[in-house]
Amino acid sequence: MKILVCISHVPDTTSKINFKENDTKFDANGVQFVINPYDEFSLTRAMWFKEKQGATVTVVNVGNATTEPTLRKALAIGADDAIRVNTEALDGFLVAKQIAEVVKKGDYDLVLAGRESIDYNGGMVPGMLASILDFNFVNGCIGLEIDGDAATASREIDGGNEKISTNLPLIIAGQKGLVEEKDLRIPNMRGIMMARKKPLSVIEPVEVSSQTATTSFEKPAAKGAVKLVDADNVDELINLLHNEAKVI
């Protein structure tokens, strides 16, 4: 089985989010970048397939050279090789189109991505990729087994989960549950050393125009101070929620 894992390069979850150039660009100054947490669940599941069922695992990112340390980290976790499509990730559609080319050229059977990236939260790339390639697609995937060409998956739904049967070729957008938190891997020294020697190929993009453009960013309005209610005066809290906030 040939697996491709899509890796998004995103600010660490603790990052303070700031903008520059009149709020038109994200300010990466002082921000630590990591593998998108949702992609980490997918990458870990891919490693499981590699070790238990025999698969090759390629990781791919669409972005400029600054994303390479994140791809190296994925190699250190155990992916076999990496591809970077050398272009600015302007919108989800452009990224999906670039990855679709990689999938076609590399003949991958299974593409694992994350439910969304925690920077722009678009949640578009996997579904668009599936439609462009006309592959089957499971979003919000919390369990995946592959047997030959057949796949059984579960996905999260409102208030529960749904069991699904489908076939390869397949696109999966994963989240926690695909593997458990405790199964996530931190690269060890040996992995990091080996990652330096693994192939990371940079390929040029195909010509695609984006369909959306972000013109500016805003921060949420500053919040007023909390109203504290005495622990002995729970009636007052009920009163405030009923009469002032009007939510009960």
């Binding site: 668009m128 529960g160 489908t166 972000t214 805003e218 921060k219 909390v226 622990a231």
Partner: protein, 320 residues
């Protein structure tokens, strides 16, 4: 030209978000000088949507898609969007909506913005405000294609009545075998419980509760308020509560009217996921807990004392 709205349903009943997307679609149609057309799948009587401004409902009945199927639904929406000459398609950014919308976008060669929180600030260029950086910011995004797909964030626009005398037309959708490449085998769902997505009120508890045996009072409080229950990430990682209850940046997003956090410190990743809730209440023993900076109301106190009192007083309040 029309504005197409997907009014999602489950077991023949509209989801609450259906009324919100119709209300929103009605307003966009006014902005664009066109009509709103709502699409329903396997709903016997769609006339409820007239109340929110749907002049026309296109109703699909098809026994191949009795449960949600993203690819087949996307194909249905494409067929109807072409027939109705849609210039915009509105889909809620719920779990199912986020599954469906990117496929509709590719089918229609349309640009797509998800998690949109307001009406377009301009229709030319078509500009929408959407959530970004896990609720830590918003982005203003231009959609430059002829057809636009908008994913509407829950509880961002609200449900607005706007009664019209509408009509319902049935539509015979063509569904191929390829559309059904992903099959639902079974659904495991707690019955009679409010879901986090649907809930107006969410009661959430964290590691401050010490252990799973102490969740009885959380469930009771939720029951008194007709609320859904949720938890912080470590609580689900420890197996105290199911993963489906994990809320925050890497869990489910919450956009309820009221969010009550009990024994939750208010880590940045937790707050990111629940910040879209309108009113936030925190109950925590530690006055320095970061949650107090994000909350509207707070009690510095021991959950094991405050929550039982709150339950008792709320019961009395509900009866009065």
């Amino acid at each position: 030209m029309s504005v197409l709205v997907f009014a999602d349903s489950s077991e023949g009943k509209f989801k609450k978000s259906a009324f919100e997307v119709v209300s929103y679609g009605k307003k966009i149609a006014e902005q664009l000088g066109s009509n709103v057309v709502a699409v329903t799948i396997n709903v016997a009587d769609a006339s409820e949507l007239y109340t929110y401004g749907a002049e026309k409902v296109v109703s699909v009945s098809n026994d191949q898609i009795t449960t949600f199927n993203a690819k087949a639904y996307a194909s249905v929406l494409k067929q109807i969007a072409s027939k109705e000459n849609a210039s915009a398609v509105i889909i809620d950014s719920s779990i199912d909506g986020l599954y469906l919308a990117p496929m509709v976008a590719v089918n229609l060669e349309a640009g797509y913005a998800s998690n949109v929180v307001a009406l377009p600030s301009s229709t030319s260029p078509f500009t929408v405000k959407r959530k970004a950086f896990s609720n830590k910011a918003f982005s203003n995004t231009i959609i430059s294609t002829d057809v636009k797909i908008i994913g509407l964030a829950k509880n961002s626009f609200g449900v607005h009545e706007n009664p019209v005398s509408g009509t319902t037309e049935s539509f015979d959708a063509q569904i191929t075998d390829a559309d059904l490449g992903v099959k639902s085998v079974s659904v495991d769902k707690a019955t009679g419980k409010v879901t986090i997505a649907d809930a107006d009120i969410v009661i959430s508890a964290g590691r401050g509760l010490k252990g799973p045996e102490n969740w009885g009072m959380i469930e009771e409080l939720a029951e008194v308020l007709g609320a859904a229950t949720a938890c912080s990430k470590p609580v689900s990682d420890l197996g105290w509560r199911p993963h489906g209850e994990h809320v925050g940046q890497t869990g489910k997003p919450v956009a309820s009217n009221l969010y009550i956090a009990i024994g939750i410190s208010g880590a940045i990743q937790h707050l990111a996921g629940i910040n879209a809730s309108k009113v936030k209440v925190v109950i925590n023993t530690d006055p320095e807990a970061p949650f107090f900076k994000a909350a509207d109301y707070g009690i510095v106190g021991d959950a094991f004392e405050v929550v039982p009192t709150l339950i008792e007083k709320l019961k009395a309040f509900k009866q009065s």
